[in-house]
């Protein structure tokens, strides 16, 4: 369905400033091009015929806010997305993490949890899960609820098991879940060491020290300045010699972190060296 084109650039500024003042969600440093698409999409799906209608609903119906946040923060995700990335985690990063008595991992912008469950599976297979903790955070409480349920559409399992295999997995992927009619339930032992919590990368501060931080396909929605301030947040939250993992088209190159971090192989994984 082709989205309408009724939101103007000036409208975006206006709405975002209002939302930040009224609700404390600050999207003013998000990439404008993407936001504009999202706002036009909301107008299509929720049948607003003008910017004024959208603005009225957002500002006068606080119960609509969660839906608004959910629509403008894209939450598309996959298990074992970019299998080679997970392969590098298995081969290059986990053997190092294994030398720690206790492993803390932060999955920032975890969406509905597919990434966190993928990490849990890797940790199980590396026999490290018992001494790990995975903090899975997102700005959106709605996706976190789905994440903690561990229920995913069965239609995705073919893709996920293929991704899993390409990432170097040798088990039968279906051993990790129980299939129901149109969904699957991932086994509860996979989330024993997961902590789900809301955390806004724009406004919340560091809450722990980690050996590995994953933040994939979240920073593409931020402008450069905001990207840099989130990099600072990650830097403070990473132990010496910790690892930072980004999405496959994201980079710390051109940022302040560049000199203190060293890239591991071809994947978007950097080790803090200073």
């Amino acid at each position: 369905m082709w989205e309408p084109n009724i939101i103007k650039n000036e409208d975006i500024e206006l709405l975002l400033t209002d939302v930040a003042e009224r609700y404390g969600y600050d999207f003013t440093q998000y990439s404008k091009a993407s936001l504009k698409r999202r706002l036009n999409r909301i107008c299509l799906i929720d049948k607003f015929s003008s910017f004024a209608e959208l603005r009225y609903r957002v500002m006068n119906h606080p119960e609509y806010l969660q839906r608004f946040v959910e629509e403008i923060t894209v939450n598309v995700t996959e298990m074992f997305r970019d299998p080679n990335f997970y392969k590098s985690l298995r081969e290059e990063v986990f053997p190092r993490l294994g030398t720690y008595p206790f492993i803390r991992i932060w999955v920032a912008g975890c969406s509905t949890g597919e990434e966190a469950y993928s990490i849990a599976i890797l940790l199980k297979e590396a026999n490290l899960y018992h001494k790990s903790l995975i903090y899975a955070t997102d700005i959106n409480p709605g996706v976190l609820e789905r994440a903690s349920s561990g229920i995913f559409p069965i239609s995705q399992m073919q893709l996920y098991s293929e991704n899993y295999r390409l990432s170097g997995g040798i088990e039968d992927f279906s051993k990790y879940y129980t299939a129901n009619y149109d969904s699957v339930q991932f086994h509860h032992n996979l989330k024993e060491k997961m902590i789900f919590s809301t955390h806004n990368l724009v406004s919340d501060s560091s809450f722990n020290a980690f050996q590995l931080i994953l933040c994939r396909n979240v920073l593409i929605y931020f402008d450069k300045e905001l990207q840099n301030s989130v990099f600072d947040l990650f830097d403070i939250s990473l132990d010496a010699l910790g690892y930072l993992a980004l999405g496959s088209k994201e980079t710390i190159r051109f940022s302040k972190l560049e000199k203190q971090y060293k890239q591991i192989g071809d994947e978007r994984i950097w080790k803090k060296i200073r």
Partner: protein, 189 residues
């Protein structure tokens, strides 16, 4: 009216790689604008395709990364599994959201963004393909006074996409694969 070209965006699907391999070797090195290519393809085939394209031309071929700055005379390839948007005339963003027309990247999304940002300075070219992605985007290019070019459907391996364009859009020029490179070269100022 003489328009100054600030961007050339090329979209293609099934049968379009062949066309690009005819076009790219004949592009001049000193084009005064960047070229962006949006092609439907399998997520796993990216590096092979980039190499193939890079070897066929003297221009620099670059796979787009998030928040990259575009330079004139370079060819930018949209990576598989991401949509691509223009933040302004030089800065680009990637976006991992829902597919459009069963496609990610979607040609429509990048064409619309090019139309809004470059307006009459945008030239969009739609090649062979089996899908209708791109047709709405061409309409947007047109509505902002940009220029719309389409591969001659008679020369397309799969003519559905260019045919839809000629049926639904007020196309400025229809080109055979062998005419495309000199057309682009002539857009230079």
């Amino acid at each position: 009216m003489l328009k100054r070209t600030n961007i050339v965006v090329i979209g293609g699907s099934a049968g379009s790689l062949k066309v690009l391999l005819v076009v790219l070797p004949h592009l001049d090195k000193d084009l005064s604008f960047p070229i962006v290519i949006i092609m439907h393809r399998k997520a796993s085939s990216d590096s092979v395709l980039n190499k193939l394209l890079a070897h066929s031309t003297q221009l620099e071929v670059i796979e787009i990364e998030d928040k990259m700055t575009m330079l004139p005379g370079c060819i930018y390839i949209v990576p598989p599994n991401y949509h691509m948007l223009f933040e302004n005339k030089t800065l680009v963003s990637l976006d991992f959201s829902e597919k459009l027309n069963f496609s990610r990247p979607s040609i429509d999304i990048t064409f619309r963004s090019a139309a809004e940002v470059f307006q009459e300075g945008a030239v969009a070219l739609l090649l062979s393909g089996a899908n209708s992605d791109g047709v709405n985007g061409l309409k947007e290019i047109k509505s902002y006074q940009g220029t719309v070019a389409v591969q001659d459907p008679a020369t397309a391996d799969v003519d559905y996409m260019p045919l839809q364009a000629t049926l639904h859009v007020d196309v400025d020029i229809i080109l055979k694969p062998t005419e495309i490179a000199s057309y682009i070269n002539r857009l230079r100022i």
